[in-house]
């Protein structure tokens, strides 16, 4: 696993939303993680308030990173597989992430929805290294 850059940018990692900007290099969601990926430092752990989620770009992939109140970190694709909802704005608990648009819930363990026949959400490995958030995509 290599770290592409070690310094988190001071300015927000992501540019302002330009509505309609094409999603560059988005990958299709799936439960199976790539056996080996590239690790990206996307920001500082402090960028994500305890209990909340924030969106980042890891390489060319948008990810939502969550810091739960138990201290654990989780990362998922940024958009809900159901209707494209902003998952970083969702609510969480130790078991699931809930999308803010239609309240679909996805399990951290495998990304599967807890109800309905929706596609699962893609889960990415994430860890902290010296205060930096590292997401592997």
């Amino acid at each position: 696993m290599s770290v592409t850059h070690s310094d988190a940018p001071q300015a927000p990692t992501t540019p302002g939303t330009e509505t309609g900007t094409p999603a560059a290099g988005t990958t299709a969601p799936g439960t199976v993680e790539a056996p080996s990926g590239t690790a990206h430092v996307v920001g500082r752990v402090d960028d994500v308030p305890l209990g909340e989620g924030r969106a980042f770009v890891a390489g060319n992939t948008q990810v939502a990173v969550f810091r739960l109140r138990d201290g654990s970190l989780h990362a998922t694709q940024a958009a809900c597989p159901h209707a494209g909802g902003p998952l970083a704005d969702g609510q969480t608990d130790p078991r699931v992430l809930v999308c803010p648009l239609h309240l679909y819930a996805y399990r951290w363990s495998d990304g599967a929805p807890t109800s309905g026949g929706n596609a699962p959400v893609r889960i990415y490995p994430v860890h902290e290294a010296d205060g930096a958030l590292v997401v592997t995509v």
Partner: protein, 846 residues
């Protein structure tokens, strides 16, 4: 008399080339039908349908000169609702076109069953191979003195009600006369009476039975029907006969058996029907009450059959059309050999009709016959409704519906097919819900959509139950049914219960305030107060099983803590829903809507100018006037929110929260010509006082200056209506969303100050007692208006002072979230975009 119904224009002849062999002899069997009424003609149709036109040379004798017409509709012709041409079923042309010889206006006198010849009154003899008697029935003429003239004809002014000629005569007489007596209070008599009354005649009905329609109704039902008929202005005489007709030249009146005399210039005989069996009798065919037939409709002569009202099958005579149709089908099968073993086993008669403007449906028996029979009767004489069912061994064997036939579909099904009956028998007759007409869950087709928000069908719910999920909450979680607007939750529950067949797992969580804490709301509030729990994590730690957080419980707990603690609640952004974190309503593309406060829907030119400037500066894609009398800026990027609030300089309109949203008003007394009170000012005052108050679900209010209700106060959570003399009505529990409900009048008070006080008490009681996301339109009916009035108006529980204190604490804790968070973000990155690069499902810009 009159024109021939369904006749051919004069002078027209028809050419018919019969199938013939080289010798010019028709090789087909000769089928002769005696009688051209509904049974005879229907039989011919059924025979033709089975290819019988090639098998048989068909001859039909009809006593009437007409084609075949729908006798059932005669009462409609009499009432003037149908033209007689419209009731023709088969015209003379139809017979000609189908190669059938119609001998209309020719009566058959007798049959020589040995020589196989039919003798008609015109002197002809017609040979047959197979013969069908379908002579139907005629009006029963009760014995009475003076009914006939010296030559045995009926006295002028005396009419039956059986044929189109009877009907024409009645119509002609109706124009010339004023008083009619109808003999017979059955279906036909009542229809004749109603129709004649419609033509302006004074009508009296004389009925020998002790109650009307005694063939179909029990005595109580008959009594209620009598009320309904008399309410129409028709006089009814029961349990008496007409013993004498007053003449002598024509009808002048009648004398009843009890000696009373009634003036009348028209006497209609509708005292039942009798099978016409003379032809059969004269021909030596077995006749009891009717012509006796076996299960193949065969008489005691192997080549002679009988169908319809003249036939007696297994001891029964049928006077309804459905059994006659069945008989015609069976006989056609037998005659044509389509099914030589076809048998008729009798009919279970169910009928639905309108008698004298009253809906009646009957099936099977109308009263219990054995000790063990269940008999349920619902009688509402005032409404003219009488409903009853008879059940034997869990099977419906009879039902009578008078005045209300909404349940006839289910009952007919249960009667015909023996479908299972609800354990609570009363559900057979009435829907026990107070909502809209309810479709039985069992009858709902599988593909019908139950949850319109999430597109869940009945089948999907049943499949989930079949898959082992047997709790209502579990099914709702699995299918998302009922998780949209929630208006289908009741139906979802019913379907789950039905699909699980009584194996529904009690859902303990149904009574919990939020799914993650196993406590109902009062116990939860008590625990929060007792243990001084001031944050959502503290509540989870103390009260959740294993101290575990639950994402879907956080929003409800946040609302509850703010209600309990006011400003002493410990803020945590992560416990809030995104709308409450950024004080704006998230849209489907991840953008937000910004609705500035506009109290009472009143704005100024300066405000509008500012809104316009802000909309331009931030390239707001849509500006929309909302239903709540405000202006909505839609499609705003999250990161623009704080700057927009700063530029607007207006407080939040709370168009995103489970909280007090807006107070709509009409122009009230300032400008309106009709305004009885200053609704605009009261609306502004209400919005000022209760702005941003958290509640279990959103609260919408309105104040109107008069009952014209221009701002729709009757359908708000709290609606206030000025009724003049300084008085205001306060309605609660109204709705005009997925559910529509007029609010209940909580009280009429004498001043705006009292409106404010009562509204505060109601709000606080609702906040403390309603379940999470339970709107007032569910809450108010649940606790009941009398209970609310006792608690809020009479202080029946001694809590009014507490309620006043509680609401005041929340009012005091109010701060404008826009002013607060634009100064300093609540958490780092509060307004950072959550979908940085993803192509959003764009909402079209108009």
């Amino acid at each position: 008399m009159g024109a021939v119904l369904g006749g051919r224009p004069e002078g027209m002849t028809s050419l018919h080339f019969a199938l013939s062999d080289a010798d010019g002899v028709d090789p087909r069997q000769r089928l002769v039908v005696v009688g051209n009424g509904m049974a005879g003609a229907r039989l011919v149709e059924e025979v033709l349908e089975r290819g019988g036109g090639e098998q048989f040379a068909i001859t039909v004798f009809g006593e009437e000169p007409h084609g075949n017409y729908n006798r059932i509709m005669l009462s409609h012709v009499l009432a003037g609702e149908e033209h007689e041409d419209d009731i023709v079923l088969n015209s003379h042309d139809w017979y000609a076109d189908n190669g059938i010889t119609l001998r209309a206006g020719v009566r058959v006198e007798r049959i020589d069953t040995h020589a196989k010849l039919v003798y008609a009154t015109d002197g002809t003899a017609t040979g047959y191979d197979q013969l069908v008697i379908a002579t139907g029935s005629r009006s029963f003429v009760p014995p009475m003195a003076g009914l006939r003239t010296a030559d045995e004809a009926l006295l002028p002014g005396v009419l039956g009600f059986r044929t189109i000629d009877d009907t024409r005569a009645m119509l002609a007489a109706a124009g010339e006369h004023e008083k009619a007596v109808v003999v017979g209070g059955g279906l036909l008599g009542l229809e004749a009476a109603r129709a004649l009354q419609g033509h302006g005649l004074a009508v009296e009905v004389v009925h020998a039975g002790t109650h009307l329609m005694n063939q179909q109704l029990d005595p109580d039902g008959g009594a209620i029907l009598k009320q309904s008929v008399e309410a129409l202005g028709i006089t009814v005489h029961l349990a008496t006969r007409t013993s004498e007709v007053i003449g002598p030249d024509r009808v002048r009146g009648v004398v009843l058996a009890d000696g009373r005399a009634i003036d009348a210039d028209l006497l209609v005989l509708a005292a039942g029907i009798r099978p016409v069996t003379e032809v059969a009798l004269m021909s030596g065919i077995e006749v009891e009450r009717g012509i006796v037939v076996d299960d193949q409709l065969r008489t005691d002569d192997p080549d002679v059959y009988a169908v319809g009202e003249c036939a007696q099958h297994r001891g029964e005579l049928y006077g309804l059309v459905a059994p006659v149709w069945e008989q015609a089908r069976v006989l056609a099968d037998v005659l044509t050999g389509t099914d030589p073993d076809a048998e008729y086993h009798g009919s279970r008669t169910a009928t639905k009709l309108k008698v004298a403007g009253v809906d009646v449906a009957t099936m099977g028996v109308n009263r219990p016959e054995r000790d063990a029979d269940e008999f349920l009767v619902i009688s509402e004489p005032r409404r003219g409704v009488h409903l009853s069912v008879v059940i034997r061994d869990d099977v419906l064997i009879g039902a009578t519906l008078l005045g209300d036939t909404r349940k006839v579909a289910f009952l007919t099904q249960a009667f015909d097919r023996g479908t299972p009956l609800p354990e609570e028998r009363i559900r057979l007759l009435v829907d026990l819900s107070d909502g809209a007409a309810e479709v039985g869950v069992a009858e709902l087709p599988g593909e019908s959509q139950v949850c319109n928000c999430n597109g869940v069908t009945k089948q999907a719910i049943c499949d989930t139950v079949a898959g082992g999920c047997a709790s209502v909450g579990g099914v709702m979680d699995a299918t998302r049914a009922g998780k949209g607007c929630g208006s289908c939750k009741g139906l979802v529950q019913q379907i789950v219960e039905w699909a699980a067949g009584g194996d529904v797992v009690e859902d303990p969580s149904a009574s919990w305030y939020v799914p993650g804490i196993p406590l109902a709301k009062p116990a939860l509030i008590a625990a929060i107060r007792e243990q001084q729990l001031r944050s959502v994590p503290a509540v989870f730690a103390a009260l959740a099983p294993g101290g575990e957080e639950d994402a879907k419980s956080k929003m409800g707990l946040t609302s509850l803590l703010r209600m309990v603690w006011g400003s002493d609640y410990e803020q945590e952004n992560d416990a809030k829903f995104i709308n409450d974190r950024v004080h704006a309503n998230i849209q489907r593309d991840g953008t937000f809507s910004v609705v500035p406060q506009m109290k009472g829907g009143v704005t100024t030119a300066a405000q509008l100018r500012k809104i316009a400037d802000v909309a331009e500066k931030y390239e707001v894609p849509m500006i929309k006037v909302t239903g709540g009398q405000r202006i909505d800026l839609l499609g705003v990027r999250k990161e623009d929110l704080p700057a927009m609030w700063a530029d607007l300089g207006m407080p939040s309109g709370y168009a995103y929260g489970k909280s007090m949203r807006t107070v709509k008003t009409c122009v009230g007394s300032d400008f309106c010509r009709f305004g009885l009170g200053d609704s605009t000012q009261l609306g502004i005052d209400l919005e000022t006082r209760f702005q941003g108050i958290e509640s279990p679900a959103k609260i919408k209010m309105a104040v109107v200056g008069c009952p014209r209700n221009c701002a729709e106060a009757y359908v708000k959570d709290v609606g206030v209506v000025a009724v003049g003399n300084g008085k205001w009505e306060v309605y609660v529990g109204g709705a005009a969303g997925a559910s529509v409900r007029k609010g209940d009048l909580l009280a009429t008070v004498g001043s705006p100050a009292e409106v404010m006080q009562l509204t505060g008490r109601f709000l606080q009681y609702y906040r403390e007692n309603a379940n999470w996301l339970e709107r007032t339109y569910d809450f108010v009916p649940r606790v009941g208006l009398p209970h609310l009035q006792r608690v809020l108006l009479e202080d029946g529980e001694g809590i009014v002072a507490e309620l006043d204190e509680g609401i005041q604490r929340s009012i005091d804790a109010y701060t404008d979230p826009w002013a607060q968070d634009r100064a300093e973000p609540a958490t780092p990155g509060q307004f950072r975009p959550a979908l940085p690069l993803v192509a959003l499902p764009k909402v079209p810009v108009r």
